[in-house]
């Protein structure tokens, strides 16, 4: 696990991500508590590309947030190799997320007022006052890899496709071993969707990371090694198990 984003991505195998009997309930004022995730269990094998799909409100995003340690589950565990992420205190989860997880959002969530390179470097700022030279070089390489000019304009000036490419570069900056992507192509047109899907899968594979993504995009789902369907808070039987053999996913 790298200590900072300064390190070059090493070829290493990420640990197994295991979600076991995960329960998340949401209580809102004047409404009875509602179970968003109901004993969800599945694994993300090292280097696998796993997709989650399902109707709105099924709990897909909540599941991603729980995996990332952003939401504390009411029961169940999220394990990263031997590490029980759910047992970590908040600061520990922050550290784990910073070092091991890269997030890609549907609406990019860039800082529109900062330039390309500053957005990519942002996750390194969280624990570095002075930016290491190696980190800047890596950010420049990543920008070039996703087809952006490292000296490019502020993020708010980029097209939507460019913004999502920038978001992918930012997610990869600290060489995470797990990419969590929430509807990464949902707000893009068909052409851009296909390009972003390619880019996301390719760059993540280059980084030897695992991917857990949420999508309704058939094209993107078609590239996943396994597709799970969430419905009513529970995991339904795996879709298209034949893909598992075709893609050689364990």
């Amino acid at each position: 696990m790298p200590a900072s984003g300064a390190a070059e991505p090493a070829v290493r195998r990420p640990p197994l991500l295991a979600i076991t009997d995960l329960v998340v309930e949401r209580s809102e004022a004047s409404r009875p508590s509602r179970r968003i995730l109901d004993q969800v269990t599945f694994v993300v094998e090292p280097g696998a590309v796993i997709a989650l799909t399902g109707p709105s409100g099924a709990g897909k995003t909540t599941l991603l947030h729980a995996v990332a340690g952003l939401v504390s589950p009411d029961a169940g565990t999220v394990s990263w190799g031997d590490l029980d992420v759910t047992a970590l205190p908040e600061a520990g989860r922050d550290r784990w997320r910073r070092d091991s997880v890269g997030l890609v959002f549907q609406d990019f969530q860039l800082l529109a007022e900062l330039g390309v390179i500053e957005n990519i470097l942002l996750p390194v700022r969280f624990d570095h006052w002075r930016m290491p030279r190696a980190a800047v070089e890596r950010a420049e390489q990543l920008a070039t890899r996703v087809g952006l000019d490292p000296r490019g304009p502020r993020a708010g000036m980029l097209s939507r496709g460019e913004q999502q490419r920038l978001a992918i570069a930012r997610a990869l900056m600290r060489s995470p071993q797990l990419i969590l992507a929430d509807e990464p192509t949902a707000s893009l047109d068909a052409d851009n969707s296909a390009r972003i899907a390619d880019l996301l899968i390719e760059t993540t594979r280059e980084a030897a990371a695992s991917i857990l993504l949420v999508s309704h995009d058939d094209d993107l789902l078609g590239r996943a090694g396994r597709v799970h369907r969430l419905e009513g808070g529970g995991m339904r039987p795996e879709l298209r198990p034949e893909l598992q053999h075709e893609r050689g996913v364990p």
């Binding site: 947030h65 952003l70 922050d94 997030l103 800082l111 007022e113 996750p123 969280f126 930016m131």
Partner: protein, 409 residues
């Protein structure tokens, strides 16, 4: 951790608010700073202006008016005191020097003051920066701000007109000119920073003669200054006395408080004025403090609302790996910067406003207000920076406490 990129992004996102909010704070702070600096300068400068007026003797009337007329040359007709007192004072062992002060004429708006050469030189403290002191009735020495050249000859007019550029006369002056009376400028006094810098000083004898009162001496060709002829010396509006010692000053004041005269130290009047000024200042300080509280509260509420609107932005940073303390630091720094920038700009703006007011006061009265931002103003502004920093914690803590999962939904 380095919160600056997020702080810079947040400030850029604020657009015009990033300028408007500090400006509002700056104006609120500037009001307090300007009032404080101006009041301090007014006290100091007005006290300095009265330095050479140890004891004033005049006819019964308003002490304040006598001070305003003699020290600050604010024109007003005041009753005359018997000129014979000048001789009594000249023979009094407690008196180091005494000088009459007479006014009522002007040249191009500059008041013409009749006095002695000794007082014109501020009891020997001042030496003309150009030329010399007057030695004849037809000679004048001008203040540093008077736009007359040495050797220039002028004719006084009765009454006071608006100050005009050199070489131009107003209609009022032309109508009331003392024809036949001429003064030749023979010297220029150094700058005192008082209204006397704009005055034309002439021998007291010439003022008496101009108004048909003789020259105060037994003969026409008597030398200028005291002693005067007891039978011929006319009345004067005021007499400035320089006592030999503090005890002498009190003795003289007690003596000339009776028998148809008033005697007092200008400092007494100033203390009274400062008390009134202090009361006004206190009211203004309360008003500006309330103003500061309102503006600081409004700005903090604005920043709090902005932090609320940016919940998702900060939640995304958390999702990317930022710790809660990083968010706390970023939001606090952004808010504190806005408030601190306002306070420090207010210090500068307040100093500038006090300087502008000082210039206006100098233009209108000739009293130079040495406006300066002192420690009280600096400490006041720094205190507000501290208060602002503490208030900036509100939006920071609000962001710190917001659950990430809820904000990302």
């Amino acid at each position: 951790m380095n919160p600056w990129p997020v702080v810079i992004a947040d400030l850029r996102a604020l657009r015009w608010v990033a300028w408007a909010a500090p400006l509002l704070v700056a104006i609120a702070v500037a009001l307090g700073v300007a009032i404080s600096a101006q009041e301090t300068a007014l006290r100091r400068s007005s006290a300095q202006a009265a330095d050479d007026f140890d004891l004033l003797i005049g006819a019964p009337g308003s002490h304040t008016q006598l001070v305003l007329t003699t020290v600050y040359l604010q024109p007003e007709a005041i009753p005359l005191v018997d000129g014979a007192i000048l001789n009594a004072l000249a023979g009094d062992e407690r008196v180091r020097a005494a000088a009459p002060i007479a006014f009522g004429d002007s040249v191009r708006g500059h008041p013409v003051i009749g006095t002695t050469a000794e007082f014109a030189a501020r009891w020997g403290r001042a030496v003309p920066s150009e030329g010399r002191l007057f030695a004849r009735e037809s000679e004048a020495v001008v203040g540093a701000e008077v736009g007359l050249r040495l050797g220039e000859t002028v004719t006084p007019s009765h009454g006071v007109a608006t100050r005009r550029p050199a070489g131009t006369d107003g209609e009022d002056e032309a109508r009331h000119r003392h024809e036949g009376v001429r003064y030749t400028v023979v010297g220029r006094l150094p700058r005192f920073g008082t209204p006397w810098d704009g005055a034309i000083l002439v021998p007291i004898e010439s003022v008496w003669e101009t108004h048909g009162l003789g020259n105060g001496h037994a003969t026409e060709d008597a030398r200028l200054g005291p002693p005067f002829d007891a039978a011929r010396v006319p009345g004067v509006p005021a007499i400035v006395v320089k006592p030999r010692a503090v005890a002498d000053a009190y003795g003289l004041r007690a003596q000339y408080r009776q028998g148809g005269t008033v005697a007092f130290f200008p400092a007494e009047v100033l203390v009274g004025l400062y008390t009134a000024l202090g009361d006004v200042r206190d009211v203004l300080v309360v008003a500006t403090t309330l103003n500061d509280v309102l503006v600081f509260t409004a700005t903090t509420m604005l920043l709090l609302a902005l932090a609320g609107l940016r919940r998702r932005r900060y939640a995304v940073l958390r999702a990317l790996g930022a710790s809660r303390s990083y968010i706390l630091m970023s939001v606090w720094l952004g808010a504190a910067l806005i408030l601190a920038a306002g306070c420090l700009s207010g210090l500068v703006l307040g100093g500038l406003a006090a300087w502008v007011v000082g210039q206006l006061v100098e233009q209108r009265t000739g009293l130079v207000l040495a406006v300066a931002i002192g420690w009280p103003e600096v400490l006041g502004a720094l205190g507000l920076v501290v208060v602002g920093s503490l208030m900036a914690l509100l939006p920071a803590v609000a962001s710190f406490r917001t659950p990430v999962g809820d904000s990302l939904r």
